[in-house]
């Protein structure tokens, strides 16, 4: 099958492969994700190439899987997924007037401009995957309410900014602090809707990898990804990566706000994975689980016969790094190791590649299985919980050889 590649930054259609393998997709077209009510328009939002539109207000945009096959391990800013919770998103931001206020249980309250951030703190860079807690929710069975994503509510970027810990050090955390709470410019339409606030334990907030990022892949963040600054919590689900971060509050009691106490929680039982109807205690969602995807072939695709068919993809986990990726061409009956490409650090996508022999008339059930540095490994067990979080099962891609 002849394929063209979607050029980074380009708006021309024609190169993108849909999940079902058909070429496409310009603004105005649609894509049908493989679950009920999976039809989505392809729409170009500001500073974005045409992406899969999940919802328009607040905007939620999904990255087509073929984007992850582009270039190196990083997801282009104009293709990076978008997810907001509340409709009150500023559409104009004055970078000069923007301030981050640091307050609460601190010795000195701070009001930091973007210039202060760049001038007064050591810049740091980190490659890290940002993945929505509900990525892949559309594949839950039985289905659960929530944003019905395929696998494209994730992306990997090189983030540049300052350590949150350095900011907190300048403010001086008082004894008795337990959590740090983050707020951004996103606001609810109604005062009766809980504002979107997220908190981290103070030890995590002050750890060196948590940063306040003012650049993404060497450029300003797109507004829809949180311009001018966004919290980066490597290894953790994106719910904590507060966009347009303008408020940091040090708390002396655990945060009781809705988005910590009620929403974004996973079952304590079954390592977060339970049976429908099962009742258990819950805890706030935290680190991501190990995952991998085949990015150059899609389910249902026809490939040409021949040895040396390329098979490649990405893998990542919650911050221990990718140790190995195995591939199968027989639905998981047998496995062999793929070659791991360049290592951009333990929080990054890790590209992997290998080849397989495609015999005419055959069907291959392709799969990848990642093993993380902490020993965790993908399995065929499919996680279920009522919020649609944590999916990380081995994914199957069936291709036939013409």
């Amino acid at each position: 099958m002849r394929r063209t590649r979607f050029l980074a930054g380009g708006l021309a259609a024609g190169g993108l492969l849909s999940l079902t393998g058909s070429p496409v997709r310009a603004a105005g077209q649609t894509i049908t994700l493989p679950f009920a009510n999976g039809m989505r328009p392809i729409v170009a939002y500001p500073q974005k190439r045409p992406l899969i539109l999940l919802t328009s207000r607040p905007p939620q945009l999904e990255t087509p899987l073929a984007v992850f096959d582009e270039g190196d391990a990083f997801t282009p800013n104009d293709a990076f997924f978008v997810r907001w919770h509340l409709a009150g998103i500023p559409t104009s931001i004055d970078g000069d007037a923007f301030r981050i206020n640091v307050h609460g249980a601190v010795e000195r309250e701070l009001s930091l401009s973007l210039g202060d951030l760049r001038r007064d703190f050591e810049p740091v860079e980190i490659a890290a995957v940002c993945q929505c807690s509900g990525n892949s929710r559309g594949y839950f069975s039985p289905r659960v309410p929530g944003g019905q994503w395929s696998n494209g509510a994730m992306g990997n970027a090189q983030w540049r900014g300052v350590r949150l810990g350095d900011v907190l050090k300048r403010a001086g955390i008082k004894a008795g602090a337990v959590q740090v709470r983050f707020n951004g410019l996103e606001t609810p339409t109604l005062s009766t809707t809980p504002d979107f606030l997220k908190s981290l334990d103070v030890e995590l907030a002050a750890s060196p990898d948590v940063i306040v990022a003012y650049a993404m892949n060497g450029a300003d963040l797109p507004l829809l990804n949180g311009f001018p600054v966004r919290l980066i919590v490597p290894g953790y689900f994106a719910t904590y990566w507060v966009k347009m971060l303008d408020d940091v509050e040090v708390l002396t009691e655990p945060d009781q706000n809705f988005w910590m106490k009620t929403a974004y929680r996973i079952p304590t039982a079954g390592n977060g994975c339970i049976s429908p109807g099962e009742k258990t205690e819950t805890v706030p969602i935290g680190r991501m689980r190990v995952r991998s995807f085949i990015t150059n072939l899609t389910d249902g695709q026809h490939v040409a016969a021949g040895s040396g068919q390329r098979l490649r993809g990405i893998a990542f986990d919650g911050g221990s790094g990718i140790e190995r990726v195995d591939v199968s061409t027989d639905g998981g009956a047998t496995w062999r190791a793929a070659k791991l490409n360049r290592d951009y650090g333990k929080y990054s996508f890790r590209r992997w590649e290998t080849t397989f022999d495609a015999a005419a008339g055959q069907t291959y059930r392709l799969a990848s299985r990642a093993t993380a540095g902490d020993g965790s490994v993908q399995t065929t067990a499919v996680c279920w919980n009522p919020s649609g979080y944590l999916r990380n099962a081995i994914e199957l891609v069936t291709v036939s050889v013409s």
Partner: protein, 102 residues
């Protein structure tokens, strides 16, 4: 102010990262209007679309009236939607005509 901006630009260039734009403004595309005419459409358009676009309903898996009632109740009780108790049933009855199952 001009001097400060210049100093900031210089510091940023020295750090090897792009200068943040002074002001970034965007215009969002028009939202989709997917609610079809049926009894209860005005209620759904008036209430649901206060806080979110109608595609939030149509991208959900098809749900029963009981499930839509639970969603409407959640919108009222958890997210503070301005719904009267008496409006929950009519909204659910409408939503099941839009994206429903038995």
């Amino acid at each position: 102010m001009r001097t400060l901006a210049f100093a900031l630009a210089a510091a940023v260039l020295a750090a090897g990262t792009p200068l943040a734009a002074r002001t970034v403004s965007v215009t969002m595309p028009p939202e989709r209007q997917l609610f079809k005419d049926a009894p209860g459409a005005d209620l759904a358009r008036g209430k649901c679309q206060t806080c979110h676009s109608s595609d939030y309903i149509f991208t959900q898996p098809p749900m029963t009236k009981a499930q839509w009632l639970a969603e409407a109740s959640k919108m009222k009780n958890v997210y503070g939607a301005p719904l009267e108790e008496s409006q929950l049933e009519p909204i659910a009855a409408y939503l099941v005509t839009q994206n429903g199952k038995e």
